[in-house]
């Protein structure tokens, strides 16, 4: 990752950056995941924008289209992910910072795998 780290100057975003740093340390040392829900914190849209631009974008970008659109991206700091559920599923855009190896919502679910298997078998029969 060679993009320059922009320095976040807005007052309400800085404490979150500290929280992310501590969570990343926990992930690095104990493989312990953390989720920070930005929608429960006193942030203006400018605070969120500044925080997200400081975190930047990394190598992975995923769109999930189940029950409305959600986007996931890894920030320029590996292990720090941003999850955004668009407002057509919730009444507002929900933004989470996930400090983990991989966001669990992206993993295939047993019930959906079984359902897919049945459909495949039907197509092939």
């Amino acid at each position: 990752m060679n993009s320059a780290v922009k320095v976040c100057t807005h007052q309400n975003a800085i404490p979150i950056l500290h929280e992310i740093k501590h969570a990343l340390l926990k992930l690095a040392e104990n493989n312990q995941a953390t989720t920070i829900d930005l929608s429960s914190l006193p942030m203006t849209s400018q605070d969120t924008e500044q925080l997200l631009s400081t975190l930047g974008k990394g190598e992975v970008n995923v769109t999930l289209t189940s029950a409305g659109e959600s986007t996931f991206w890894e920030t320029q700091f590996p292990g720090v992910w941003v999850t955004q559920h668009q407002p057509h599923f919730s009444s507002k855009q929900l933004t989470y910072i996930e400090i983990c190896l991989f966001p669990s919502l992206l993993m295939a679910q047993q019930a959906d795998i079984t359902d897919g298997l049945n459909r495949l078998q039907e197509i092939m029969s």
């Binding site: 057509h88 599923f89 507002k92 959906d112």
Partner: protein
């Protein structure tokens, strides 16, 4: 016995996969202010959540509360939950009217005895019973009759919770709140003029997830939404701490986003979720738009001095009235709560409940 329709069936019917359902659960966790670690347990509870019957009564109100919850432009978590509940009576929304509508209410009460949720918006006039009637039944009588076999009552909006605008001085109809009339049922107060839609849905989601009512504060409000003051969660708080205040609506301080305390902001004495849940699909909330908080989720907010007077300038007459009301109210409420505690516990007992401890 036929299998009961569950929330999972409802979501599957809308083409939502298991992964989508888990996403729904993670949003529900956010809405209920529960940690993400509880998502698997929330999923387990919501999977089998049964469709609750809801009877909605509207008394002296402006329909703003109903507007607030139904004005979703696209399928949202609010509308998904709102579609899932069996709304058996709501005289503004239902097609039936007059005796046919009343028959639907009576049928729902009979079929779901001690299980249905009663939602009330609007205050109840206690002066002349003719001030407000529905199908010839006065509001107070309809409330008493319908509350009798409800599992719980959700009072929506400041009119139903504390009397609201109809209760404002001189209160010509002698308007009172639901809790002034019904004393033997669990009542969840969801004040606001109007309340935030997600707060309203959150109460229903809590009922679906836990089968019980959320923890309430001393004004009967769910602590998860009304546990912090607007001031506690206000993004302008750092300016307040530094003593940087806007003095007029268009001075340099106002333009720089300084604290609105001197312009009458009631944020320090108002408990609600506006600062985090926000309004209009999460766009902003009054303070973010440059307007001081008017304290609409607090009792008697219409009569608590001018909206644009600073909290530090109370009017003497209001201070005296409030002190007398607090003293009288404290004595009355201690006695009343002792008498009605057992009745409430009895009503709660009839309903299957779980707690967060059960989930862990």
């Amino acid at each position: 016995m036929s299998k009961q329709y569950t929330l999972m069936d409802h979501l599957q019917g809308q083409g939502i996969t298991r992964r989508g359902f888990l996403k729904f659960c993670s949003i529900t966790a956010t809405m209920l202010a529960l940690p993400p670690s509880l998502i698997p347990q929330i999923a387990k509870a919501l999977e089998s959540a049964k469709r609750p019957s809801v009877i909605w009564l509207s008394f002296q109100e402006c329909t703003g509360c109903t507007e607030s919850i139904t004005r979703s432009h696209a399928p949202t978590i609010e509308s998904l939950i709102f579609d899932f509940i069996s709304l058996d009576y709501h005289h503004t929304l239902q097609a039936a009217s007059g005796h046919a509508a009343e028959a639907a209410r009576e049928q729902a009460m009979k079929d779901n005895e001690d299980q249905y949720i009663l939602v009330v918006d609007g205050s109840i006039p206690t002066g002349n019973p003719g001030f407000s009637t529905i199908a010839g039944i006065d509001n107070k009588q309809m409330l008493i009759d319908t509350a009798k076999h409800a599992a719980a009552i959700v009072a929506v909006g400041t009119c139903a919770t504390y009397g609201g605008l109809p209760h404002a001085d001189p209160n010509p109809t002698n308007a009172v709140a639901v809790s002034d009339i019904i004393k033997d049922k669990p009542i969840i107060n969801v004040p606001g003029c109007p309340p935030i839609p997600i707060v309203m849905t959150g109460v229903l989601a809590h009922f679906l997830t836990f089968g019980t009512i959320p923890d309430l504060d001393d004004l009967g409000r769910p602590k998860m939404f009304y546990g912090n003051s607007i001031h506690d969660r206000c993004y302008r708080r750092p300016f307040y701490e530094k003593g940087l205040f806007a003095e007029t609506f268009d001075d340099e301080g106002a333009k720089a986003g300084w604290c609105l305390f001197k312009l009458g902001c009631k944020g320090p004495t108002t408990y609600n979720a506006c600062a985090t849940a926000k309004w209009n699909e999460g766009t902003s909330f009054p303070i973010e738009a440059g307007a001081p908080c008017i304290g609409c989720s607090q009792p008697d907010f219409w009569d608590n001095g001018g909206f644009y007077n600073a909290l530090s300038q109370p009017t003497i007459s209001i201070g005296e009235t409030a002190a007398a009301a607090i003293a009288a109210g404290a004595v009355a409420s201690v006695a009343a709560s002792a008498i009605h505690k057992s009745a409430k516990a009895k009503a709660a007992k009839k309903h299957h409940t779980v707690t967060t401890d059960d989930m862990e």
